[in-house]
């Protein structure tokens, strides 16, 4: 207890040095006066009295030194002294200091930013309660979303039979950006609604800040519609009104009751659908009706405490075996992985490479600086020799040099931290990039700690070589040799030469790496997308609820196409349900087989589905290799037709010409009228594989429709005219968000 008090008092004393010294001086003065008076009373002469008083006190300097030593921290005192000296040295050598601080700052800034992203994606736990127990239950191992999702009845059976999972919930990833139309507010607006199962939020451990989560009744088929709002949407659209729960908003023409608002800390898309938005969440019923839709759910499970993923996997395989082959059942091959692996696993390697590159950069910085300091240190042999001659031991000299380099690296790290703050903002602000959890990247204690660590490590690494070198020389030699500054000994040359070699090697490594990276970037940019990107505008124009029949919708589309074609500058117009490089819709897969051929279970080819009108393929300039595109005559009355892309054509008829042959889709035969080139739907660097195009007038099975306009004028000049044309048809159409394809 008293030891703790004393320690605190000692530290405090170091910083109150001047005050305490003055106090002591006063006390000593009083002491001498009191003693002198007593001596006078004993009958001494004034001079003798004072002399005797001073003598009995002893040396005041010694008294002060003893006082300082017992009240403060003698070690810290001398460190502070070194620090002051170091800072003075930095100011004297302003050029070198500026350079050193700059390159350390760049190094620390880069490495801290990378560390920050690394931390958010790979180290920090996911922002859910007890997130290590959360697992992703995929269906099969394909990269493809449609194949990873699970049918409702499979979920129900799995949930019932599993002992490993405390809870299994899911969301339906087949929602589209801007699927829902909000009217009744000032401006009609497109919103994104994510369908989730009843206990989805409790599974993650998310508590609404207002209201509650869905109830069982609300999660029934045909229940009165309800919604839970994301925090951002609540703030944006309801100005964070506290009484929003219980109110109704008009979505797609029908009232929807708000039952809750999610906390600000919960960012659904950052984890599950990076680069997109989610405004509200609606219940996804687990009913026979939704079961018939096929694989619709992305499953998440919370493992029971103590259950490992591999144990859960063994059990899941058994359950899947048991429920396989039930009535109206899709294939279910559960693949269980920790949620983190699913969310950020694919970035692990890229981040490790990046971290490695930054590490090399930091090494380069260190080698460079070390060399600089060595060069400067050779000019300081004399100074060191004098210090040594005056009695400073080698550890003391090394310590002083290290403190100087630590000063440099600390100031550099402070600059680096500022850069890291900026860098982190930049990274976190990247929108539309499909990297998860980026929104969670922020400057926190972890980063500060990391910066500090890098600063100290850099200071020591950089300072050690010059410190050891400079202090190694015997003083008499140094004084003799250093008569006129520096004459390099062979030892020092050796050290500097190897540092230079290291630097060049590291620099080569980094340059090579950067060049390789740059080349693959160029390759991605030069890739043939299969469609045109310039001067293309796209806009969601889903028909509202008022167009309920196929005929009404077709009429609605015709009306829009006619109006838009009349807008000056428009060259071609088309409709599609799956825009390239768009959102989840492009993932829809259907089975397609050669008509009349029997396929074994699971052997029938799958192809991505695009429902388009006759104008789409020409408007997007997708190359037609054989046959024709759709025409206005391909209607619901005429013969069912289809256009396949090259990979699908090769898959179905490896040898023969596909045009004119027949395929079978959903129990219906269709004639192939054309073959088109592949289009990069998902990512610039990722080919799509088999795709098929179906005429929108024959298959009304789309959940969103985009209008695609190719124009001879730049998009900005086109937008007003298009907006006016569309407003004539449907004033509630949120025409604000035209998208370009670039």
């Amino acid at each position: 207890m008293s030891a703790v008090r004393r320690a605190i008092a000692r530290v405090a004393a170091v910083f109150r040095r001047a005050d305490l010294d003055r106090d002591l001086d006063d006390e000593l003065a009083t002491h001498v006066e009191l003693a002198t008076e007593e001596n006078l009373q004993r009958g001494m002469t004034a001079a003798d009295a004072r002399r005797a008083a001073v003598a009995s006190l002893g040396s005041p300097i010694a008294a002060r030194e003893q006082h300082r030593e017992s009240r403060g921290l003698p070690g810290l005192d001398s460190i502070l002294q070194d620090l002051r000296y170091g800072i003075r040295g930095m100011r004297r050598d302003a050029g070198l200091t500026a350079f050193a601080v700059l390159i350390i700052g760049l190094g620390v800034g880069a490495s801290s930013t990378v560390f920050n992203v690394f931390n958010a994606l790979l180290l920090r736990p996911l922002p859910f309660t007890d997130s290590t127990r959360l697992a992703w239950i995929a269906n099969g191992e394909l990269e493809n979303l449609s194949a990873q999702t699970v049918q409702v009845d499979n979920l129900l059976d799995f949930r019932r039979q599993s002992q490993s999972f405390a809870a299994v919930e899911g969301y339906s990833p087949f929602y589209g950006q801007g699927d829902v139309r909000l009217t009744g507010a000032d401006q009609p607006e497109r919103l994104t609604a994510v369908p989730v199962t009843e206990r989805f939020f409790p599974l993650l451990g998310i508590e609404p800040v207002l209201g509650r989560v869905f109830t069982a009744e609300e999660s029934l088929w045909n229940a009165p519609p309800t919604a839970i709002l994301s925090h951002r949407f609540w703030v944006r659209c309801f100005a964070a009104a506290p009484d929003v729960v219980g109110t109704a908003m008009v979505l797609d023409g029908a009232p929807v009751t708000v039952v809750g608002v999610l906390p600000e800390s919960f960012d659904f898309t950052a984890v599950f659908a990076p680069g997109t938005g989610a405004d509200l969440f609606v219940p996804y019923p687990l009913s026979p009706e939704t079961n018939r839709r096929g694989n619709t759910l992305a499953l998440l499970g919370r493992l029971n405490p103590g259950v490992r993923v591999d144990e859960a996997q063994v059990e899941a395989d058994l359950i899947a075996e048991r429920i396989r082959g039930a009535e109206r059942r899709n294939e279910f091959r559960p693949t269980i992985a920790p949620l983190r692996e699913r969310v950020s696993g694919e970035f692990r390697r890229a981040l490790l490479v990046l971290a490695g590159a930054v590490g090399f950069l930091m090494l380069l910085v260190c080698a460079n600086l070390s060399n600089l300091l060595l060069a400067r240190a050779s000019g300081r042999h004399r100074e060191m020799a004098i210090r040594a001659a005056l009695g400073a031991g080698r550890p003391r000299l090394v310590r002083q040099m290290l403190i100087e380099s630590l000063c440099l690296s600390s100031v550099g790290a402070a600059v680096g931290l500022a850069l890291a703050v900026g860098g982190t903002r930049l990274v976190a602000g990247i929108e539309g990039m499909s990297v998860p959890l980026l929104q969670a990247v922020r400057v926190d204690l972890d980063v500060l700690g990391f910066c500090l660590l890098v600063a100290v490590a850099t200071g020591i690494v950089v300072g050690l070589a010059p410190a050891l070198q400079t202090s190694a020389l015997a003083p008499h030699l140094a004084l003799k040799q250093g008569g006129r500054g520096a004459v390099g000994g062979s030892g020092r040359d050796w050290m500097r030469r190897s540092l230079v070699v290291c630097e060049v090697a590291l620099a080569c490594l980094l340059v090579t790496g950067a060049a390789l990276f740059g080349r693959s970037l160029v390759r991605v940019l030069e890739v043939d997308l299969g469609f045109r990107t310039d001067d293309i505008l796209a806009l969601r124009i889903d028909p509202g609820r008022e167009y309920s029949t196929h005929a009404q919708r077709t009429a609605y589309f015709d009306q829009i196409l006619d109006r838009v074609r009349a807008v000056p500058g428009v060259e071609a117009v088309g409709l599609t349900d799956a825009l390239p490089l768009g959102d989840n819709y492009g993932w829809r897969l259907w089975n397609v087989g050669v008509a009349g051929r029997a396929y074994d279970r699971g052997q029938k080819p799958l192809a991505l589905v695009r429902i388009v009108d006759d104008g789409y393929i020409p408007a997007m300039r997708i190359t037609v290799d054989a046959g024709r595109t759709f025409s206005a005559n391909d209607t619901s009355e005429s013969e069912p037709v289809i256009i396949v892309n090259e990979p699908l054509a090769r898959r179905l008829w490896p040898e023969a010409d596909p045009v004119g042959r027949r395929v079978e889709i959903m129990g219906r035969e269709r004639r192939v009228v054309g073959v088109v080139r592949e289009v990069r739907y998902f990512a610039l660097e990722q080919a799509s594989g088999p795709e098929m195009y179906l005429p929108i007038r024959q298959i009304p099975d789309y959940s969103s429709v985009d209008l695609v306009v190719s124009a001879s004028l730049p998009p900005a000049a086109m937008a007003p005219g298009l907006r006016a044309a569309l407003a004539e048809i449907d004033p509630t159409l949120p025409a604000a968000d035209f998208r370009t394809m670039r």
Binding site: S2, R5, T30, H31, L34, S56, L57, G58, P60, A62
Partner: protein
């Protein structure tokens, strides 16, 4: 000089602190000079005190919370810092005196051992 006389004792490490505490307990608040003089008197001038060292001891005791200090006026109207023992200091003193007693007894017995063969 007095230092060379063999009769005077050099203080053992830590004994000065104990003397200061004891002096403050028996005399009440005192300034540094008063404490030093008192110790010299009590020891019958057997202890050679470099009076300046008393201040290092005082600051040490103060930091431990065993004594407290405040500025006041001495009997002859001088500004002086007065030290007084705290309750915690008294407790500590009692413990240390007990230790000393035991050590002194032990030393007495060890010194009193008869010489070999006698």
């Amino acid at each position: 000089m007095t230092k060379t006389k063999p009769a005077r004792l050099d203080l053992l490490q830590g004994t000065l602190d104990l003397m200061v505490l004891q002096t403050l307990r028996s005399m009440g608040p005192l300034h540094g000079y008063g404490i030093a003089r008192r110790i010299e008197q009590v020891s019958g001038h057997q202890v050679m005190l470099n009076q300046g060292t008393i201040y290092a001891s005082l600051v040490r005791l103060q930091q431990r919370g065993w004594i407290s200090a405040r500025w006041g006026t001495s009997s002859n109207n001088r500004k002086a810092k007065f030290y007084s023992i705290t309750a915690r200091g008294s407790k500590q003193l009692a413990a240390e005196i007990a230790d000393w007693q035991r050590l002194a007894d032990l030393m007495g017995r060890v010194v009193a051992l008869p010489e070999e063969g006698s």
